[in-house]
Amino acid sequence: MPKKYYEALEELRIMNNITVSDLCDGVIDERSYYRYLSNDRDASLKVLMRLLENIKIPMISFLNYTTHSRTSDGSADSIRFIYRAHVRKYDDIEVHYSNVKKGVRPDKPFNIVICAYILHYEFKINKITLEDYSKRSLALLKLLPPENDLFTLPPRLLHYFNTNQTDLTILTEYGTSIRDLDFRLQPLFAMNIYELYLRIAALNHQFKVPYTFEIYDKLNTLLGYFLNRYYTVFGYVYGSYLEYSKGNKDYLKPLLKYFHSILILTDTREIKETADFVKLVFNVNIYDLLIEDIKTTDFNR
């Protein structure tokens, strides 16, 4: 395993025209460097950090490079697909969808999550009917281990959401498990779980579903770590929804931020769908609200 890090280091060394001697200067001898490069012989973390220091690359940047820029295996495709399917970023999803669909079998919890998102996506783009979705999704759920964790919750929540269930007991049970999740283990999955739970609660007008506030706080904490455009947009709408549920008029400001983000990020079809969602949850006409807001905005005053 350490070998791949040295291979990445070697790529960067060559790219930047640095000699092996300069790279290793004061850290290790050149022979040791070539040994790390040619087999999985271990080197200390400190050695790697000092070598990186010699070519002026921080460890975290280096890992970004090894993980993202060099990644060509299928796992990156899965993550990219899940992310796009979840946030409904469909403009460039097809290539990841077809790559993922080719190779995945529901043989372990991680792969079951991928399969669940494949079904979810196919349902959302009307490739399969609700009946078909429901049947196949149930079959997937039967393959899951009984506990509610980072891998088993997304398929369960997606099923609950897409089949328009309203059983508060089940939702509460999910909420209990979600509250105790350690989001750091798979931040993307955790973010998706929080978002889906809050969306279900909002759509069902279940403002008093236990843990909703705690889960919103968790979503916000995660947003502090991962400043992501799409998830930040979710932060706006659920922040707004919680204020609204408390009868607080301040819900309008984050709601407008939410819709401005939708205007930027999506096409007209999604804009109209989101307007329907806002009408359903907040009972407001977002078009009128936006017009009124933009007309009364004057930053030059």
């Binding site: 395993m1 350490p2 960067l12 790219m15 930047n16 025209n17 999985d40 271990d42 080197a43 200390s44 973390l45 400190k46 790697l48 950090m49 070519i55 002026k56 690359i57 921080p58 975290i60 940047s61 280096f62 890992l63 970004n64 490079y65 090894t66 993980t67 820029s69 403009d91 350690d182 750091r184 283990l185 770590y225 400043l227 992501n228 455009r229 799409y230 930040t232 407008l256 931020k257 401005h260 983000s261 205007l263 930027i264 990020l265 999506t266 096409d267 007209t268 079809r269 804009i271 109209k272 307007a275 078009y287 936006l290 017009i291 933009i294 007309k295 905005t297 004057d298 930053f299 030059n300």
Partner: protein, 325 residues
């Protein structure tokens, strides 16, 4: 200074404690308990294989584990970020009162603090400690532009330094910087390596677009950059740095009048941010003509013809200009 081996070990042990794993279970089959104690006290070194096995035991991918370690250092030194933001906002008095003494002599830990040796004298000039001539002299002494621009790896450090240095660079130096950024971003003659890759790339595109109008009148070259930058934005997830980039696209729109969607994009984006950093942009954008444009488009969005996401519409308009150039 980036994160150290000690920061990594500290994070490892913190997560072990949080996950209620005993030292015996944690170290079993990896290293002895005694060696683990020596690691914690900084007396022993950790092997890369051992680190990978430890993070595997915690159930965390290495990158995410180190991101957390990195973020911990970031949060412990949040004043460095706040100082940088105030300088970006041109809120020099506040930056001086709150953070000057703290950042002036301290060992800096976060990735963007590489620009501090430049931003500190910039601040000193603004509050009257040094003169403008002295500032320019200091900046030109501190920045070895040739060395910086001969590096094929563009890091957080590079871009931070270039952002601060560019406004004080000579015309010739600005051309050199723009050519370098063009080579990295458009000609792929180098690569970007950042602690937050997207943020670093976003800043690099933004600086290139900022410098372009000063260095070229070649429409083709300008629109190549605009399209590439917008394609990047359409896939990137970092906010609100995209506003800075779109604002530079808007400046290019002011010259070539190629897509009113830039105005609409910026207006909505500015409605989502509260930072005083963007007050200048807000005052410029929210004028009667643009408000009318916005209302008309809103009516189309709800009742009229189909449109793609705004960024795609802007890209398509830019492509038309490129084809005709």
């Amino acid at each position: 200074m980036a994160i150290t081996e000690f920061d990594v070990i500290r994070m490892l042990d913190k997560m072990r404690v949080e996950k209620n794993i005993t030292i015996i279970n944690f170290t079993n089959g990896i290293i002895s308990r005694r060696t683990y104690s020596r690691l914690i006290s900084g007396e022993a070194k950790i092997g890369l294989t051992e680190l990978l096995r430890f993070v595997d035991r915690l159930g965390v991918p290495l990158l995410e584990f180190l991101t957390l370690a990195h973020n911990t250092v970031f949060l412990e030194n949040i004043h460095e970020y706040e100082f940088q933001q105030l300088i970006y906002d041109h809120r020099f008095k506040e930056a001086y009162d709150k953070y000057y003494n703290k950042v002036k002599t301290a060992t800096l830990r976060t990735p963007f603090s590489a620009g501090f040796p430049l931003s500190i004298p910039i601040l000193e000039e603004k509050v009257g400690i040094i003169t403008r001539n002295e500032l320019i002299q200091i900046l030109h002494e501190k920045v070895d532009l040739n060395a910086l621009l001969s590096n094929n790896l563009l890091t957080d450090d590079t871009i931070e330094v270039l952002i601060y240095f560019s406004p004080f660079a000579t015309k010739k130096q600005i051309t050199l910087i723009a050519d370098y950024l063009y080579d990295v971003l458009i000609n792929a003659k180098g690569i970007i390596i950042g602690s937050n890759l997207e943020q670093c790339t976003m800043k690099t595109y933004t600086l290139l677009l900022n410098l372009l109008p000063e260095t070229t009148t070649d429409k083709k070259r300008v629109f190549e950059c605009v399209i590439k930058a917008l394609n990047f934005v359409s896939k990137a997830a970092v906010i609100p740095d995209d506003i800075d980039l779109l604002y530079e696209v808007k400046r290019i729109h002011d010259v070539y009048k190629f897509s009113d969607f830039v105005i609409l994009h910026l207006m909505s984006a500015l409605k989502c941010v509260d930072s005083p950093r963007f007050n200048k942009h807000k005052k410029e954008l929210f004028i009667e003509k643009n408000v009318t444009l916005f209302i008309n488009q809103l009516s189309i969005d709800f009742n009229g013809n189909h449109r793609k996401p705004l960024i795609q519409e802007i890209i398509e308009d830019a492509q038309k200009v490129l084809r005709s150039a």
